[in-house]
């Protein structure tokens, strides 16, 4: 469960996120969409405990992120758009490392399964520099999933993946949600959002301009009925007509 109440993040005079409140329930996949600079990544980084919010409250699986950061981070995983890996650890060692960090007692049993699931078992002794961009991304995802997090934060999770891996990745995200994880996913790929997300959170200039299922969002704006998600998105961010495309 992700609970966000009045989240605000300012960098000097620039307010990146303002008055943001929403919830992601267990089993839900919420899509975070918005134009460049809307505050999507800042929001995800605040939720992951990477960036300290200027104001507001964040609860991760019942833990207040500000008061209990370790307990909150213990049950969440943040998978950024660019895989952050350690150049001198092999694929398998990355997983062992993460297993120890999160105290995964059965990591030795989980690791082979994880490697097989993400088609990395042939690369277990490879260093990140010896992997393709897509494989590095898969490794970062494997590191995020190893401890079975209750909350998953994805920032552009499909970047660099091939079509087969994209299909597997989508299935993995949906499966994790079905198992009870709360998933928040930021992406510019509207077809991905449309396909796997149960609700949408649309950001514009750091503020939520829409939050709900597609049906709820369209119901609030009858003129959008029957139009594709792309048109809905452009309308919501004030770029209707595609003049800025």
């Amino acid at each position: 469960m992700i609970e966000v109440d009045g989240l605000e993040k300012a960098y000097g005079d620039l307010t990146a996120v303002q008055g943001l409140s929403f919830q992601v329930r267990p089993g839900e996949v919420v899509g975070l969409v918005g134009p460049n600079g809307a505050g999507k990544t800042t929001t995800l980084r605040c939720l992951a405990g990477i960036t300290i919010p200027t104001a507001g409250r964040i609860r991760i699986a019942g833990h207040d992120l500000a008061a209990e950061p370790v307990a909150a981070k213990q049950v969440l995983a943040f998978i950024p758009d660019e895989p952050h890996l350690f150049e001198y650890l092999t694929v398998e060692e990355h997983l062992r490392f993460v297993g120890r960090l999160y105290g995964v007692a059965d990591a030795p049993e989980r690791i082979p399964r994880m490697l097989a699931e993400l088609e990395l078992d042939g690369k277990r002794r490879a260093l990140p520099g010896e992997l393709s961009r897509g494989m590095r991304q898969k490794l970062a995802i494997a590191c995020g999933l190893l401890h079975d997090p209750a909350v998953l934060l994805f920032d552009e999770p499909l970047t660099g993946l091939d079509p087969v891996s994209i299909r597997r990745m989508k299935a993995t995200i949906v499966a994790r949600a079905s198992d009870g994880a709360a998933v928040l996913l930021s992406s510019h790929l509207l077809h991905l959002v449309e396909e796997i997300c149960t609700r949408l959170l649309v950001l514009q200039r750091g503020q939520a301009v829409a939050f709900g299922t597609m049906a709820e969002i369209v119901a609030a704006r009858p003129t959008l009925a029957g139009r594709p998600l792309e048109d809905v998105f452009l309308e919501l961010i004030g770029q209707e007509g595609g003049g800025d495309r």
Partner: protein, 570 residues
């Protein structure tokens, strides 16, 4: 030089300076600047201007010492210098310049222009630091001499990096293309070995007589025909710096300038290996800065066993484990292990000789180097937060308190440094098996080695905390990443950091060392040498308290550090 390059360099420098000055709005940076200025004034203020210029003898020794120093720096550049660092182009430079309609030589000229910013900064620094010295003709002439020397050395490092890169990238073909450079390098090395072998008997004989006789023999050997040839290029480079009159300087600056021009021509004749390596390195660095992995890093071919990491236990141990694995896989580990193994074998062999002098000399050399590592080691071994701050996003997402992260990160580099020092002390212990008269007996020396085993981790831990603290508190003014600013041209700033750190470490060590010394003196009469045990315990206890206070404070700083700001500053 292409006007666009000059514009790029000038504007980048101006904007960078503006950013640095803007940081002074933060009280933390302002305080650091004021402390830095006070520190520089203290160093200059302590120097006393000599009433007369130095004697010919002083000048001669200064020239010899400087020439040997330059020779060692050049040897370092050839043997273990970082060719990649010397070729550091920014990704933007590669994107705009390498892909542009620009001849390769223009790129090298651009690179040289950029390197001049470091050279000029260090010329200004050295000129300021030596402002009260009478060596040299005047401050301006000294600045010009320094510029000639540092530019030549900067060019030499770049040229050496081209040859090393060419050899690494193209193997035998690279060697063929670099045959002239290699022949000169090998020739100088062989001449030096020949010179040392030629002078060794005389040096050994004079060693038995005393230090004065040994120094005289050393001076004679340096002026001998073989050493004279080997040291000639280095003497030419440093001679303008030690000239005692205008005439002497004019006679010296001509050959030094010729040497500089020869290096310039050499570097300009660099081949495609430069371009490929520069581009590859630049993108690797960009990826690292963006938190992405680098292309396959150079990994030691020596497969060292890595420690096992249990799946459960203190989470922060995983951070220390990661850093240790990285250190074990670094290509330099193989070199260090080879040198240490060789050193131990040589020490053991020397200890069996009838003449104890060589073993004793080796013993003192490694012991002194261990002491030097106390100060220089934390600057060189950066396998801690200084390396990981580029991945601050990742660190911050881990379920760890800031203090745990700081402790684990600094502990790993402190342990690596301690290992290096203990290895040296073991070599010294082996060499001292000849039982020097002015040292305690074997049990005493063994006890001292055991004491070092206990005390060194504490001292190194505090040292690493100081360096990591600087990186956390002043990321905009600290070099972030595992590499460090290198090259002789950056020697001035590195030296200042070294001296400043030594002073800071001394201040931090005063309370625990004072307590330890006090307890030893108090208990020496009843307990004898055993008083060292409670004294060491008191020292360790106080050092641990200091360390914990620093870890907690830096942990809070780390928790408040904004990754986006840090990435931009780095």
């Amino acid at each position: 030089m292409n006007g666009a390059y000059a514009y790029l360099v000038a504007r980048s420098l101006r904007n960078r300076l503006t950013r640095q000055v803007a940081r002074l709005r933060s009280p933390r940076y302002l305080l650091a600047l004021l402390l830095g200025l006070a520190y520089l004034s203290l160093i200059v203020g302590q120097q006393h201007s000599a009433p007369t210029p130095p004697s010919a003898e002083t000048s001669r020794w200064a020239e010899l010492l400087l020439a040997v120093g330059v020779m060692l720096a050049v040897t370092w550049a050839w043997v273990i210098g970082s060719e990649r660092r010397a070729l550091a182009f920014s990704p933007a430079e590669v994107t705009f310049l390498f892909a542009g309609p620009v001849p390769r030589r223009e790129l090298i000229r651009f690179k040289l222009l950029v390197s001049q910013t470091v050279v000029l900064f260090n010329v200004a620094l050295w000129t300021f630091l030596l402002s009260r010295e009478r060596l040299g003709v005047s401050a301006w002439v000294r600045a010009l001499s320094l510029w000639t020397l540092l530019t030549t050395l900067s060019l030499h490092r770049l040229g050496a990096s081209f040859v090393r890169t060419s050899l690494l990238e193209h193997g035998r073909h690279g060697a063929r293309r670099r045959v002239v450079s290699l022949a000169i390098g090998v020739g100088v090395a062989l001449t030096l070995v020949w010179a040392v072998a030629d002078a060794l008997p005389e040096l050994r004989t004079s060693w038995a007589v005393g230090l004065r006789a040994w120094l005289a023999a050393l001076g004679e050997a340096a002026d001998g025909p073989i050493a004279g040839v080997a040291l000639a290029p280095f003497r030419l480079a440093v001679r303008p710096l030690v000239a005692r009159s205008g005439d002497e300087w004019l006679r010296a600056i001509g050959p030094a300038t010729l040497l500089l021009v020869a290096h310039f021509v050499w570097v300009l004749r660099a081949d495609a290996a430069f371009e490929e390596s520069a581009a590859e390195f630049a993108f690797a660095r960009a990826r690292a800065r963006a938190g992405r992995p680098q292309p396959a890093p150079a990994v030691s071919r020596l497969r060292l066993p890595t420690p096992r990491l249990a799946p459960t236990g203190r989470p922060a141990t995983a951070i220390a484990w990661k850093n240790t694995v990285a250190a074990l896989r670094s290509p330099r580990t193989r070199l260090v292990l080879t040198v240490y193994t060789g050193g131990a074998l040589i020490a053991g062999w020397l200890a069996t000789l009838d003449d104890p002098a060589p073993a004793e000399a080796l013993g003192w050399l490694v012991t002194m180097w261990t002491g030097f590592l106390l100060v220089a080691g934390p600057q060189w071994i950066r396998n801690d937060l200084r390396g990981d701050l580029l991945k601050l996003d990742l660190l911050r997402s881990y379920p760890l308190r800031g203090a745990s992260l700081v402790a684990a990160e600094t502990a790993s580099s402190a342990l690596i440094l301690t290992g290096l020092q203990l290895g040296l002390l073991v070599i010294g212990w082996l060499a001292f098996l000849v039982d020097p008269v002015d040292l305690p007996g074997l049990p005493g020396r063994t006890a001292l080695l055991a004491l070092a085993l206990v005390l060194l981790p504490a001292v190194n831990g505090l040292g690493m905390l100081l360096h990591n603290g600087a990186a956390l508190l002043l990321p905009g003014w600290t070099h972030i990443g595992t590499g460090r600013p290198g090259g002789v041209e950056a020697l001035g700033q590195n030296m200042l950091v070294l001296i400043g750190f030594a002073a800071l470490l001394a201040v931090v060590l005063i309370p625990p060392a004072g307590a330890g010394a006090g307890i030893y003196l108090l208990l020496e009469r009843p307990l004898g040498y055993y008083a060292a045990v409670p004294a060491a315990a008191a020292l360790l206890g106080l050092a641990a308290v200091e360390g914990m206070v620093m870890v907690r404070w830096l942990g809070r700083v780390l928790e408040r550090l904004d990754p986006s700001t840090t990435a931009a500053q780095a």
